[in-house]
Each structure stands twice: as structure tokens, then as C-alpha cells.
Subunit: 318 residues, 2 copies
């Protein structure tokens, strides 16, 4: 990409954050803007918890726990033990260090800051070079209709461990939510060179972002190449409930289904080499590479491959 070119990446939590980290390490400072899903946000114990924003913050700051794959490294759990002893809710694990993020965020929101402002302050404090933005400063909450009835996202995801069968998803508040101002600016930026949809769960992590009014329209009217990375490899999800949920929704868990899901929104789909023969809608180009990201090198390799694909798409456009 040319000097000064900007990239916008849409991301959920862990899977998306891996590619975001690769992009962050590869791109110049301030070139990358990660738009985070906030549909998973919830109020817990009076605290505003933003799981995907926090995963992005911790991952890009190098504070993530490499063993557990979530939360912070060098974490302690004294709070959880004490809250359980007090009879408080203990089904959502909050590490002692992680808690500082939620307490300080809640305090700042209470003092009138927007979620964008809080996230920006944390990004600066953590010394992260890329921008991380909530998709909206307004509350959008993912709810899951299951064979046990409607569940708030974290109740489905954490408390019930994704066990109930998913029948439908709803993003409460999305209709009236406004795109966060910096997200709109990033998408309208003349220096924007590409939009990347990270290998996050298309239904749980990316759809809430696309549900914010103007987001889907902006992608449809894109002036620059957009490319998604399939979170499905050979019919399997790398992590989390994506494949299980697709089956429950009557969809074949495959890269082809992901391709159809993003039809009209992307110019290219990056799939794993195992899925190189994927069928995609007309006009969508397929790129194949090793998309499983185990090491930091894997993340940087995939980011480089994604940027090369985007450059190729741009060439095709020019």
C-alpha cells in the first residue's frame, strides 16, 4: 500500500484480534483503525464490560494471556473468590487486573465520556499504535433466541457455554444506534485504502457491527476493496461456537456459507488453503493461504497476505 494509506478492520474478540495484531505490527502507526463489536457489551455487577474492545486492547498492548487465550496475563483472581463468598454473581470471570479496566471505564462513562473517548484514552495509556473504536457509542446488545428462549449474549455465551441451540439473533438498539463519529470519519477518510473483515464470527461478532445504520450501506458503496477472512476452516471453527451455530441456523458450516453471508459487501474472501476450491458468489475473488494463527509470525504472515490480496483487488479496480 502507498504511504499514508489507511485500513479499517471490523473485528470481534479473540479470532479477529489475532489478525488485528498482525495488521498492527505490519502497518505504520495510526494507519490501522479497528472497529470493534460492542454487541457483547453488558452491565455486570454495575460495571460496563466491553469484552471485544478489551480483547483488542489487551492483545494489541501485549497484555493478553497467551495460555488461556482470553483475559490478561499475570492475572490474579482474589476478587472472584471474594465476590463469590459475598453471594455475588460469579459466573462471569473477572480477573483482578481486568477489573481495573471495567471500573475505570464505568467511572469515565459516568462522568460523561463516550465509549469512544474511554477506549481512546485506554489505547493511549497502553501505548497502542492503532486506533480501536467501538462501532457505536450507543448501546447495541446482542440477544440470542434459543431453544431455551431469548438469552442476553453473555448468558448464552458464558453462563450457558453456547449449549442452547440458536434459532435467531437480535441486536437490540441497533436501529436507533449511531455509528461512532470516528468510525464514520475513518470510513469516509480519502486516505482509506481497504476494509478488512477479520475472521470473527459473522453472526455474533460482525453482524452487530453491520447492523449499525450506515455501516452496511458504507460497505455496499465502498470506494476501496473490502476483503473478509473466513473464520471457518474445512468446515470447522478455529474457536468458539461459529460452526455449531451455523448448523443450528440451518447453514452449512463452510467458507462458502461465509462467502454468501458477505455477498455484496466484499470484493474478496481469504480462505484457508484447505478451502481453496470454495464456491463464491459471482464477482467475489477467492484468495487462499494458511489462515490458522498460532504464533505471532502466523498473525503477521496472514496480515501481509491480506494486504497483498487487497492490493491485488485495488489493481483490478484501477
Amino acid at each position: 500500500m502507498s504511504d499514508g494509506a489507511k485500513v479499517v478492520a471490523l473485528s470481534g474478540g479473540i479470532g479477529g484480534a489475532k489478525l488485528a495484531l498482525g495488521l498492527d505490527r505490519l502497518l505504520p502507526a495510526c494507519a490501522l483503525t479497528v472497529v470493534a463489536n460492542t454487541g457483547d457489551d453488558f452491565n455486570h455487577l454495575g460495571l460496563h464490560v466491553s469484552p471485544d474492545i478489551d480483547t483488542l486492547l489487551y492483545t494489541l498492548a501485549g497484555l493478553d494471556d497467551p495460555t488461556k487465550g482470553w483475559g490478561r496475563r499475570d492475572e490474579t483472581w482474589t476478587f472472584m473468590k471474594a465476590i463469590a463468598a459475598l453471594g455475588g454473581e460469579s459466573w462471569f470471570l473477572l480477573g483482578d487486573g481486568d477489573l481495573a479496566t471495567h471500573v475505570e471505564r464505568t467511572r469515565r462513562l459516568g462522568a460523561g465520556e463516550t465509549l469512544s473517548m474511554v477506549t481512546e484514552a485506554f489505547r493511549q495509556r497502553f501505548g497502542i499504535a492503532s486506533r480501536i473504536l467501538p462501532m457505536s457509542d450507543d448501546a447495541v446488545r446482542t440477544r440470542v433466541r434459543t431453544d431455551e428462549g431469548w438469552l442476553d449474549f453473555q448468558h448464552y455465551f458464558v453462563r450457558r457455554r453456547c449449549e442452547p441451540a440458536v434459532e435467531a439473533l437480535e441486536f437490540t438498539g441497533a436501529v436507533s444506534a449511531r455509528m461512532a463519529p470516528d468510525v464514520a470519519a475513518a470510513i469516509a477518510d480519502p486516505a482509506l485504502a481497504a476494509i478488512i473483515i477479520c475472521p470473527s464470527n459473522p453472526y455474533l461478532s460482525v453482524d452487530p457491527i453491520l447492523a449499525v445504520p450506515g455501516m452496511r450501506e458504507a460497505l455496499r458503496a465502498r470506494r476501496v476493496p473490502a476483503l473478509a477472512v473466513s473464520p471457518i476452516i474445512a468446515g470447522q471453527a478455529v474457536k468458539g461456537p461459529t460452526a455449531k451455530m451455523m448448523a443450528e441456523l440451518g447453514l452449512e458450516p463452510s467458507a462458502a456459507t461465509v462467502a454468501r453471508h458477505y455477498e455484496g459487501l466484499i470484493d474478496g474472501l481469504m480462505v484457508d488453503a484447505l478451502d481453496a476450491d470454495v464456491e463464491v458468489p459471482a464477482g467475489m475473488r477467492v484468495f487462499a493461504a494458511a489462515t490458522l494463527m498460532r504464533s505471532l509470525d502466523d498473525r503477521i504472515y496472514l496480515a501481509r497476505t491480506v494486504l497483498a490480496a487487497v492490493a491485488e483487488l485495488a489493481g483490478g479496480r484501477a
Copy 2:
């Protein structure tokens, strides 16, 4: 004391909690009601912190830190490190376990519970046999006029380490505060046999309790003996700024000054053996004993001595 006799103790934090623990260990379950100062309460990082209630809870539950003399035993400090890294306020030390108390209290208060209800729930959870009650469910906030101007209590006490010279004290909100319902009931209880003012700072810890409308009047009109334990031993405070503050207020730091401070409110003053010759107002009886409480045995010994003195006062009344 006779079977079923009840005792009310007014207490601040650490010094008062030592005697409260002795009384708790000595008296039958449910016989002791500790009325806690809430003038030190404050909102910190969006959390409702009640330092004296918590000291009483932790002390009576055996969860207090025997080494530091404050906070919880087996505490960790990951939250503090993380909040400092985020640029949050870090001058007030909140241990990870301690934080659970503040988070759960704040959540319950937000859900509409009173401070009395929250404290009662925690007491039960901690398996404490004695009752602990806030003096009021309404906000009363101690403010300190110093040579540096007016300071909120915790700013004076913790942030400025009691260094500014105290000129006056104010209990904001006291005029319109209502005595907590269970406090009024405990004082009116026909089974009440004694009121004990613990060896807490008379100005910072006991005066806020006495500032709640009805409290001073109830003590003046007492039907049962009231006895205070002097927190001053041979002109020195065992801990904290009591003696320094008395000098700054133009008062001689002595048991005699404590006696005058409680004139009309108590029938007896328990002083240390070193102060056995203390001069007290007419009608007030002096009891002398070893009042320094280093061990649990010391606490139980002083509690036993206090209860014997109260029985003696009751005999004189009968």
C-alpha cells in the same frame, strides 16, 4: 449481664473494632449491635466505600489483616497496579478482595437496597454473630477544615496522611439524616442493658454518629448505663491522628479531655491504668484497666472489664 441483655456499641474503624471483636467473642449471638460511623464513607472510582463498616465486618469475621492492621488478610493488589497503569486514581488503596465488597455493595445500593440491608447481608454471609449497622442510611460526610482549606475526609486522612492542621470538622448531611431504623430500634429495645462508646477517635469517628439527629438525645435520655473507653492513653493515641488533632484543635490530648467531650452522654469512662487519676466531670465514674489491645486476649479482657463496669454502673442506678 442477664440472659437476653443487649448491648449497643458505637464504633469507628480499627480501634473501635478491636473492642467490638472482644465484645462479640464474649457476648451471646445477637446480643451485640455495633453502630458504625459512616462519615468516612465516600464514592471512589464510582464505588461506595464504607471504611468503618468494612473494618468491623472484616475484624468480626476474622478476615482482617493482622500484619497491616487494616484491609483483608491474604490480599492481592493486581487491581491497583492495573488502575494506576490506566491513569486512574490510585491514592486510595483497594485490595482485590476488598474491592469485591465495594463492587457488590455499590451494585446492591444501585438496585435499591439500603446501606443497612447491604451490611446485614454481608454480616450474614461472613457468619458474624453480632449485628453491624450504619448509623444512618442517608449520606453523612465528614469534612475537615485545615490550614490547607476544606478537605473531604479521605483526602485529609489518606491522601494527605493527616498532615494538614485541623481547624474544624463538619458532618455534611447530618442535619437531615435519619437514624437507621434498626439503630433506633436497638436503642429503644427494652432488653438493652448498656451503651458502649468504643475507643475510637471522638471527633472523627464518634461525633459523626452523635451528629445524626436523635442520637445525642437518645444518649442523654438513656435508661441504661453508658460507658466510653478512652482512645487516649497517657496523652497518646494508640493509632491514628487523635492526639495530633486534639492539639491542633486547642485541646489537651488526655483522657480528661475525652471525659469532658462525652459529658452528659456517659455514666462512666474506662481509662488506661496509666490515667487512673484522670479528672472527670461530676457524676461520671472512672474505671481503670489495661486498655491497650495487642492480642485477641487483650480485646476479650477489655470487653469483660467494660461489661463489669457497666454492671457496676447499673447496680449504682438500681
